[in-house]
Symmetry: D2
Subunit: 441 residues, 4 copies
């Protein structure tokens, strides 16, 4: 029996997927384009991978899971790459330890780009033939997988550049959509109002329907839940609210923090959001354009779950559960800024200034910043990891992480959906994570 | 308006509480009785506290939250004790750092026992008067708080004694209920059969009703949930199943483990449950009676969440959610061994050999070993931490921990209930934690 | 051929050694007398050992190296003690890991004191017989070994008590020789003058002559050296000079420090000598009497080599080499305060206020504080470690440590000598280490 | 009064120095030539620096200490470079933290090479004029400084390439002087005999005479010492002896090790020399040509001081003191393989097979491998660090390090001399460090 995904793909056909393949792969190349071989090689923290590794690993995914199975007369591009560019798929063989990804100075960037080109050519041939339903399904997963890495690449490059003492910019031609250099404070820019929108309680269905759209295993198992009435903010928190927290002594008040969060604050000497630094002129933050004044009207970003939770408490509210978030998004969510093929760099790589939503609607639910929920990442009822190496995609991370929802400015627009479940350990903040408040009613 | 707890207590009266006070306090003294001043002083790991600290801290709780508020002409027993014996109540003032609790060689054990006696006398006077409803409520909390520390004291002493190279026993007179020295393998003792009991799905109510019984803030907010049909094992896992996991290479097979769990296994070189060691004669384990052969028929204990999850996967099953556990316990749960005033030491301090439950019932749901659930510890809908220092009791731990249910042989019998939510970080295993399997139907 | 030590001992006879045995052992007991079982059990840092361990280990030394060899019908007091109370003698068998010495809550203090009494009785019988020359030599080593542990016991207890948040005193009856509570600032006490005494250069002999006095293997091999002329201070540095360093920004000026020293300052956030703390009233320091005002006229103590070196540089001088120190001590050294059977506790346990030396002499060369030299601890020419377990006494520490000379107020008076070479890693400062300046001429 | 160095340089003239400048700088370029931008950027351990950093830092040295002082109208090439490429000269301003040198992906390798070219041009102009004696002296120091970094560059690249899982070679065209690929075992290659050469004792002069040759501050202060008679091996230890140590259980026998050394073995799980790995076919080691069989006849390399000391003890000998080494080298030392402009890569980058020395002479005293001495690195009598930033060159490292003598195959031939004092912490082994035995007579 064909899978739901196979049936859906049969209806759109390989040509659509071939076109999508070209667009996705090309966007990755575009993201790497401003980077030097050195920029692409260095690993600036264990959580991050070098850009070269992202370029190669996403390619390896197609070679290992598609070509090696479905290409006639398959022979590996370079048999050592299976070791170098496997990420964590235990069942796909041994691999380079994650914290040592930056040691791979060879193959060079040039060799990795040639690897990309070669695999693209072979994938093009495969897609131009009559690929099986299973192959199409794997290719679609591979493209979504690559889109995840596009966002990681942007976050990782930001971290690397922040380690350069001189605030190097990702790409000098980047400009934001309001005509400003990204991250520059808007002259006279005020902070948009925030209000809470009430949502009724009752029985709701959450989760994805795999027959209608692509989705990961962790979103499947659409199921009914009971929700109590709640209220949710009509925009994410802006830097203005975070500044109030900082200036209100938020980082010195243990009663605002979860116990593990306070240990994190004390143990790491945390006193401001990541990438912020204080100077006499006030707070500035590192952006993909270099160091800029903190713009009060932009969504707050690079907050850990601990910070998100403490700031919510400081403001007399709480974080939404992932059920509340999804219910609200489906009914009332507006779309903010996402990563588009056409606007990469042109509009700058920063969350957009929060717009006013339509009355009763919720601005920026999709895009701009990922929003922490108060839900620990776990399996939906009946969850069962798929057989084989791809079964390691999601399930084995279901402990110690919190669910984020909604995507960021660095999430590709055709990658995100209301049921999408992202997740991070609660102390992480190099990803583009922000906060939306909720309240009991 | 009086609280629900106050109303309930009014109906039983202070005399009942005074009697309960004496019993609970006396059990603590009994637990400390076999220990020398040195045994009571040393802190063998950061997670543990010295017995002397438990003795003093539980006393401080009554002095600080009851006497200082409700005793006429209150004056502290020793004003330095507020610093020494506060645990984590930020709002009750500064305190000795947790990892340094073992440095408090002074006051001596004798002085701490005198502190206990003095506070008991003053509490006796208070209870013999006409304590207010609020005072009664705090005293009841204080007694449950002390009961939690009774179990911690047992777990902490076990850890300390395990660090002595010669396997010292807690108390030489300890004997188990089957006439054996605790932990000794029963001659010819087989392993009881295990089967799964199916439970229907549908709408259920979970959580505690504070008007009918004592409960903590984290169990309140009784609410309706939807449950899918499931099956649950009729006894906890025994050492027999864990031996099969060990011998089946469980600790060397990454595909059985959560990602964080595997990192824990590799990072700490874990290759067996805590307190187990291999010799030529087979596996033995440290018990409160010293080193003994692993008894295949006793419930497995001292497993981390990571191990519990991996063992369940190895056995083709999963852990129950806390909702499933509570639903099953309320309808079908039998009681196993708990800590009773009358049998401390007499029956030994070990989980009991698993009995056969009544047909369709679930053995040892309460007692013997805490059972890990697959649910992350979080707030029930509408949870709000109480005002004041006691508001720090539960809420601030609601991240990174997993819920355990059902109590152990070291949990006082009048302390546990089906709605009780205990919680530990997933790598912890010095507490008496075991596993019960569940399955989808 | 009898060893030099054996020949020397033959001339004084076993009766003298028996008397010395009783005096040394009794002083250890005296030092432990004010301590509770808890005080004696806890290990407050890896560098320190519990007092109970010192009491037992020094006893084990006699049992293991003397009685087991020379007592007729020897049988061990408790065969487990060889594991528990061996320190680092690899060739004397496996042993309790050093950082876990504080876990030994059992045997109790009482049992250890009984062990001492029993070994003393058996040693008395042995000494009352006709012990062989080899036995006498080992007993003499054992007594010097115990004297080393007497000083360690004092330093370790000081560290432990400093971890108690309330500044507990070692013994309440302690009083210093100037009628003050130890560590109390002398009213109107000035700082004694310091001047440099010039010493000629030329050829000199250093090292000990084992035919004339007891000495360790590391002092033997008396040999000729060439010394250039130098000048050496006529007293150790006092707190006054250290206060000047602190107030002159010494801990913030990298150019004053060795590279490893500066890394230590930054890595540990060092900003004052150990046991000092600042308050509004000025600097106080922890003493064996509790917290006291820093007394400008007492020798500075608890300085690391890094601090000693930096302070010397700050003052335009340098540390002496160990050759210079020994040459100066032999010719011009005066004796300061040492630990005597008769004045333990009575005169307080602190370095004495620096007296004025006789014209051209050097005050406090022996006693008060150990003095760091600029010499790395290494072998004298021809050094060869003795055969057997006692060969591990000194030689294996000859790397990464710096030589200290002269003993402290906690060094027994009949234990120290001008050729005595003590040694510590350069970052250590829980021992009673101070500074004497030197200069090129 | 001109310095001794200035007088000496005046006699050879700036033209000689200009020529030397070109040769030294060109050798550095040659060493970097086989490396990609990625190879040059990554920092594989804290002890190492990226090749790009070496290229830039050695250039900065000339810009900062020569051009900024002596070039008319000086303006910095890029004012940010003073921060990026200062190493540890506190008095030359703030700097990039050492462990973060690998984060400097920008400037690119191309920009750094342009920096080199620009400074070379300006230095050429300066040298072509009439530079002052002080300038000449600084330039000479700068060239020796660059030669030190040439050797570091080779050692650092070796470490980086060893982190690549596929054993990448530095440069594919490298060949050793015996026609073999570097590191390849010589077919039938035997192990040369080793014997000890006796040296008389007595009074000797050691240290450098700054009026006759270039020397660092740490070698100056030529002075008389007394030496006892000793014997020293006529070649360094070969892999044959190290294999005997490994196979004789050397890494499992604590009695062979210094106490700190044994802690290092246990703490790091050390069981073989650095870069060695065992396979079924025997031991192989990583070389600059990739993985090769261990060649028994080549000098052992990449040993820590702890290993050197333990191996010497295993072989019944000891390490020489630095005085013994220098005395022996001056009288009897032969020259082995050093780094020459003409043979870089051509002869391979490995220690040479040990030749037989002339009767009574000592083979390979200079070159092949640095030889650990048993002397801690400290000041010679009268040592005083120069004023200014260059005063930080040597003196501040005079603690916790051991002296190495004689240079290696990667030391430039015109950089080394018998009085040269190199130094490393005793656990380090990424440099080209080996062992020569000595004995008492």
């Amino acid at each position: 029996m064909p899978s739901l995904a196979a049936a859906r793909l049969a209806s759109v056909g390989p040509r659509w997927l071939a076109s999508r393949y070209r667009r996705v792969r090309s966007l990755t190349d575009q993201l790497a384009e401003p980077l030097s071989p050195e920029d692409c090689c260095v690993q600036s923290q264990t959580d991050s991978s070098p850009a070269k590794w992202h370029l190669a690993h996403t390619t390896w995914f197609f070679e290992r899971f598609v070509l090696s199975e479905y290409e006639a007369g398959f022979s590996p591009h370079d048999e050592r790459y299976n070791f170098l560019f496997n990420s964590y798929y235990v069942r796909a063989g041994d691999r380079q330890p994650r914290p040592k990804r930056g040691m791979i100075t060879r193959p060079s960037l040039g060799e990795v780009l040639a690897y990309r080109a070669s695999v693209d050519e072979r994938m093009g041939a495969l897609l131009g033939g009559e690929p099986s339903a299973e192959a199409l399904e794997l290719i679609e997963i591979g493209l979504h997988h690559e889109q995840q890495h596009q966002e990681l690449l942007v976050a990782d490059i930001k971290h690397l550049l922040s380690c350069n003492p001189f605030g190097e910019a990702y790409a000098s031609w980047t400009r934001s959509d309001d005509g400003l250099v990204a991250g520059e404070a808007r002259p006279g820019g005020g902070v948009p109002a925030m209000s809470f929108v009430e949502c009724e309680g009752g029985s709701r269905w959450i989760g994805a329907d795999a027959s209608r759209t692509f989705c990961y295993d962790n979103e499947r198992g659409r199921h009914e839940v009971l929700v109590l009435p709640f209220a949710i903010a009509d925009r994410p928190l802006c830097n203005a609210e975070v500044l109030a927290f900082v200036e209100g002594g938020g980082y010195e008040r243990p009663e605002l923090w979860l116990d593990d969060g306070w240990a994190w604050v004390v143990g790491h000497g945390v006193s401001a959001p990541m990438y912020w630094r204080a100077s006499e002129a006030g707070w500035s933050c590192f952006t993909l354009e270099g160091w800029r004044t903190v713009d009060a009207g932009r969504p707050a970003c690079h907050l850990s779950y601990y910070e998100a939770d403490a700031i919510a408490r400081f403001l007399g509210a709480r974080l939404p559960t992932e059920v509340e978030w999804e219910v609200a998004c489906v009914r009332r969510g507006e779309r903010g800024r996402l990563l588009d093929q056409d606007d990469v760099f042109r509009k700058g790589l920063e969350p957009s200034v929060s717009p006013s939503p339509h009355e009763g609607w919720l601005a920026q639910m999709m895009g701009d910043v990922w929003e922490w929920t108060s839900s620990a990442y776990g399996p939906y009822p009946g969850f069962r990891a798929p057989e084989g190496a791809l079964g390691e995609y999601n399930g084995k991370f279901m402990v110690n992480q919190m669910v984020c929802r909604g995507g960021s400015f660095a999430t590709p627009a055709d990658h995100i959906r209301p049921t999408y479940r992202n997740f991070f350990h609660p102390e992480k903040r190099w990803a583009f994570t922000g906060v939306r408040l909720a309240k009991d009613v």
